[in-house]
Protein backbone atom coordinates (compact mmCIF):
# COMPACT_ATOMS: atom_id res chain seq x y z
CA UNK A 1 0.00 0.00 0.00
CA UNK A 2 1.30 3.42 -0.92
CA UNK A 3 2.50 5.50 1.95
CA UNK A 4 3.58 9.07 2.60
CA UNK A 5 4.64 9.79 6.16
CA UNK A 6 5.35 13.08 7.86
CA UNK A 7 7.64 13.39 10.86
CA UNK A 8 5.12 15.00 13.21
CA UNK A 9 1.35 15.35 13.39
CA UNK A 10 1.55 18.35 15.70
CA UNK A 11 4.38 20.81 16.27
CA UNK A 12 4.64 23.94 18.41
CA UNK A 13 7.53 26.35 17.84
CA UNK A 14 8.46 29.86 18.88
CA UNK A 15 8.92 32.85 16.62
CA UNK A 16 12.40 32.95 15.14
CA UNK A 17 13.09 29.25 15.53
CA UNK A 18 14.33 27.15 12.63
CA UNK A 19 11.81 24.45 11.83
CA UNK A 20 12.28 21.26 9.84
CA UNK A 21 9.33 19.29 8.48
CA UNK A 22 10.24 15.91 7.09
CA UNK A 23 8.38 13.84 4.53
CA UNK A 24 9.16 10.31 3.38
CA UNK A 25 7.48 8.27 0.66
CA UNK A 26 7.95 4.58 -0.01
CA UNK A 27 6.61 4.46 -3.57
CA UNK A 28 9.79 5.39 -5.44
CA UNK A 29 8.02 8.47 -6.79
CA UNK A 30 10.00 11.03 -8.72
CA UNK A 31 7.91 14.05 -7.71
CA UNK A 32 7.31 15.46 -4.25
CA UNK A 33 5.37 18.50 -3.05
CA UNK A 34 4.83 20.68 -0.02
CA UNK A 35 1.53 22.49 0.50
CA UNK A 36 0.01 24.52 3.25
CA UNK A 37 -3.67 24.49 3.99
CA UNK A 38 -5.51 27.35 5.65
CA UNK A 39 -9.24 27.82 6.26
CA UNK A 40 -10.93 29.49 3.32
CA UNK A 41 -7.81 29.33 1.16
CA UNK A 42 -7.67 25.64 0.25
CA UNK A 43 -4.31 24.10 -0.52
CA UNK A 44 -1.47 26.28 -1.73
CA UNK A 45 1.72 24.92 -3.24
CA UNK A 46 4.93 26.03 -1.52
CA UNK A 47 7.61 24.06 -3.35
CA UNK A 48 7.91 20.93 -5.41
CA UNK A 49 10.68 18.68 -6.64
CA UNK A 50 10.76 16.43 -9.67
CA UNK A 51 14.13 14.82 -8.97
CA UNK A 52 16.80 14.52 -6.34
CA UNK A 53 18.45 17.88 -5.63
CA UNK A 54 15.95 19.62 -7.95
CA UNK A 55 13.36 22.07 -6.66
CA UNK A 56 10.86 24.50 -8.07
CA UNK A 57 8.98 27.32 -6.38
CA UNK A 58 5.27 26.99 -6.03
CA UNK A 59 2.82 29.80 -5.42
CA UNK A 60 3.95 30.85 -1.94
CA UNK A 61 7.66 30.06 -1.46
CA UNK A 62 8.51 33.15 0.58
CA UNK A 63 9.82 32.27 4.03
CA UNK A 64 10.42 28.63 3.12
CA UNK A 65 13.16 26.50 1.64
CA UNK A 66 13.35 22.81 0.76
CA UNK A 67 15.88 20.03 0.50
CA UNK A 68 15.81 16.78 -1.44
CA UNK A 69 19.01 14.85 -0.95
CA UNK A 70 17.42 11.42 -1.43
CA UNK A 71 14.60 10.36 -3.70
CA UNK A 72 12.31 9.26 -0.88
CA UNK A 73 12.74 12.29 1.37
CA UNK A 74 11.64 15.91 0.93
CA UNK A 75 12.20 18.40 3.71
CA UNK A 76 10.54 21.76 4.25
CA UNK A 77 12.53 24.33 6.21
CA UNK A 78 11.31 27.46 7.91
CA UNK A 79 14.53 29.42 8.46
CA UNK A 80 12.97 31.76 11.01
CA UNK A 81 9.43 30.80 11.92
CA UNK A 82 6.80 33.52 12.13
CA UNK A 83 3.27 33.47 13.47
CA UNK A 84 1.80 33.77 9.96
CA UNK A 85 3.32 30.39 9.19
CA UNK A 86 0.97 28.72 11.63
CA UNK A 87 -0.85 26.27 9.37
CA UNK A 88 -1.45 22.68 8.32
CA UNK A 89 1.43 21.45 6.15
CA UNK A 90 0.82 18.64 3.72
CA UNK A 91 3.40 16.63 1.82
CA UNK A 92 2.57 14.70 -1.33
CA UNK A 93 4.28 12.58 -3.94
CA UNK A 94 3.48 11.45 -7.46
CA UNK A 95 4.90 9.25 -10.16
CA UNK A 96 5.96 10.36 -13.59
CA UNK A 97 3.73 7.70 -15.09
CA UNK A 98 0.02 7.24 -14.40
CA UNK A 99 -2.67 9.94 -14.17
CA UNK A 100 -0.97 13.28 -14.64
CA UNK A 101 -2.31 14.90 -11.51
CA UNK A 102 -2.60 11.96 -9.11
CA UNK A 103 -0.78 12.85 -5.94
CA UNK A 104 -0.55 10.82 -2.73
CA UNK A 105 -0.75 12.88 0.42
CA UNK A 106 0.59 12.39 3.91
CA UNK A 107 -1.54 12.94 7.03
CA UNK A 108 -0.28 16.49 7.54
CA UNK A 109 1.62 18.38 10.23
CA UNK A 110 -0.24 21.03 12.16
CA UNK A 111 2.35 23.68 13.02
CA UNK A 112 1.70 26.37 15.58
CA UNK A 113 4.17 29.25 15.86
CA UNK A 114 3.87 31.23 19.09
Amino acid sequence: DVKVTQSSRYLVKRTGEKVFLECVQDMDHENMFWYRQDPGLGLRLIYFSYDVKMKEKGDIPEGYSVSREKKERFSLILESASTNQTSMYLCASSATSGPSNEQFFGPGTRLTVL
Binding site: V4, N31, Y35, G40, L41, G42, L43, R44, L45, Y50, E56, G58, D59, L90, A92, S94, T96, P99, S100, N101, E102, Q103, F104, F105, G106, P107, G108
Partner: protein, 115 residues
Protein backbone atom coordinates in the same frame (compact mmCIF):
# COMPACT_ATOMS: atom_id res chain seq x y z
CA UNK B 1 -2.92 29.75 -14.88
CA UNK B 2 -6.43 28.41 -14.76
CA UNK B 3 -8.25 29.24 -11.54
CA UNK B 4 -11.26 27.30 -10.41
CA UNK B 5 -14.53 28.25 -8.78
CA UNK B 6 -16.77 25.79 -6.97
CA UNK B 7 -19.58 26.13 -4.41
CA UNK B 8 -18.43 26.54 -0.84
CA UNK B 9 -20.88 23.99 0.52
CA UNK B 10 -23.61 21.53 -0.41
CA UNK B 11 -26.06 19.41 1.53
CA UNK B 12 -27.49 16.07 0.48
CA UNK B 13 -29.24 13.03 1.90
CA UNK B 14 -28.14 9.44 1.94
CA UNK B 15 -28.92 7.57 -1.25
CA UNK B 16 -29.09 10.67 -3.44
CA UNK B 17 -26.87 11.49 -6.36
CA UNK B 18 -24.67 14.53 -5.78
CA UNK B 19 -23.31 16.73 -8.53
CA UNK B 20 -20.59 19.30 -7.77
CA UNK B 21 -19.72 21.74 -10.51
CA UNK B 22 -16.41 23.51 -10.97
CA UNK B 23 -15.80 26.48 -13.28
CA UNK B 24 -12.43 26.92 -14.96
CA UNK B 25 -12.84 29.48 -17.72
CA UNK B 26 -9.13 29.86 -18.41
CA UNK B 27 -8.27 26.19 -18.73
CA UNK B 28 -5.30 25.58 -21.03
CA UNK B 29 -5.16 23.09 -23.87
CA UNK B 30 -2.92 20.68 -21.99
CA UNK B 31 -4.69 20.93 -18.63
CA UNK B 32 -6.39 17.97 -17.01
CA UNK B 33 -9.28 18.24 -14.54
CA UNK B 34 -8.82 16.32 -11.33
CA UNK B 35 -10.94 15.91 -8.22
CA UNK B 36 -9.78 15.13 -4.72
CA UNK B 37 -11.63 14.23 -1.51
CA UNK B 38 -10.47 15.24 1.96
CA UNK B 39 -11.71 14.05 5.34
CA UNK B 40 -10.91 15.94 8.56
CA UNK B 41 -7.36 15.41 9.83
CA UNK B 42 -6.33 13.58 6.67
CA UNK B 43 -4.54 14.51 3.47
CA UNK B 44 -6.55 14.76 0.24
CA UNK B 45 -7.21 11.60 -1.74
CA UNK B 46 -7.35 11.39 -5.55
CA UNK B 47 -10.83 10.53 -6.85
CA UNK B 48 -10.88 10.94 -10.62
CA UNK B 49 -9.24 12.74 -13.53
CA UNK B 50 -10.36 13.56 -17.05
CA UNK B 51 -9.57 15.62 -20.11
CA UNK B 52 -12.83 15.72 -22.03
CA UNK B 53 -16.29 14.11 -22.27
CA UNK B 54 -17.01 11.59 -19.52
CA UNK B 55 -14.86 9.49 -17.24
CA UNK B 56 -16.20 6.91 -14.80
CA UNK B 57 -14.55 4.78 -12.14
CA UNK B 58 -15.79 2.75 -9.19
CA UNK B 59 -16.19 5.86 -7.05
CA UNK B 60 -17.46 8.69 -9.26
CA UNK B 61 -18.12 10.08 -12.72
CA UNK B 62 -16.66 13.21 -14.22
CA UNK B 63 -18.53 15.12 -16.92
CA UNK B 64 -16.67 17.65 -19.05
CA UNK B 65 -18.46 19.64 -21.79
CA UNK B 66 -16.87 20.28 -25.16
CA UNK B 67 -15.61 23.76 -24.26
CA UNK B 68 -13.99 22.38 -21.06
CA UNK B 69 -14.75 25.60 -19.17
CA UNK B 70 -16.49 23.66 -16.44
CA UNK B 71 -16.74 20.15 -15.10
CA UNK B 72 -19.12 18.20 -12.86
CA UNK B 73 -18.19 15.56 -10.34
CA UNK B 74 -21.04 13.11 -9.85
CA UNK B 75 -21.23 10.90 -6.76
CA UNK B 76 -23.89 8.22 -7.09
CA UNK B 77 -25.99 7.27 -4.07
CA UNK B 78 -23.97 9.05 -1.39
CA UNK B 79 -23.65 7.75 2.16
CA UNK B 80 -22.75 9.46 5.42
CA UNK B 81 -19.11 8.50 4.85
CA UNK B 82 -19.02 10.70 1.75
CA UNK B 83 -19.20 13.77 3.97
CA UNK B 84 -15.96 15.53 3.12
CA UNK B 85 -14.40 18.45 1.28
CA UNK B 86 -14.08 18.01 -2.48
CA UNK B 87 -11.44 19.88 -4.44
CA UNK B 88 -11.42 20.64 -8.14
CA UNK B 89 -7.94 20.82 -9.62
CA UNK B 90 -6.89 22.07 -13.04
CA UNK B 91 -3.43 21.75 -14.52
CA UNK B 92 -0.87 19.40 -15.94
CA UNK B 93 2.14 18.80 -13.80
CA UNK B 94 3.78 16.16 -15.95
CA UNK B 95 3.50 17.93 -19.25
CA UNK B 96 3.65 21.54 -18.21
CA UNK B 97 6.38 23.59 -19.76
CA UNK B 98 9.77 22.43 -18.48
CA UNK B 99 8.16 20.27 -15.79
CA UNK B 100 7.05 23.40 -14.00
CA UNK B 101 3.36 23.17 -14.83
CA UNK B 102 1.47 24.19 -11.74
CA UNK B 103 -1.62 22.69 -10.21
CA UNK B 104 -4.31 25.03 -8.92
CA UNK B 105 -6.50 23.80 -6.10
CA UNK B 106 -9.90 25.45 -5.73
CA UNK B 107 -11.22 26.39 -2.31
CA UNK B 108 -13.11 23.17 -2.04
CA UNK B 109 -16.76 22.23 -1.60
CA UNK B 110 -17.83 20.95 1.79
CA UNK B 111 -20.39 18.23 1.20
CA UNK B 112 -22.57 17.34 4.14
CA UNK B 113 -24.56 14.12 3.76
CA UNK B 114 -27.50 13.82 6.13
CA UNK B 115 -29.30 10.64 7.19
Amino acid sequence: LAKTTQPISMDSYEGQEVNITCSHNNIATNDYITWYQQFPSQGPRFIIQGYKTKVTNEVASLFIPADRKSSTLSLPRVSLSDTAVYYCLVGDFLHGSGNTGKLIFGQGTTLQVKP
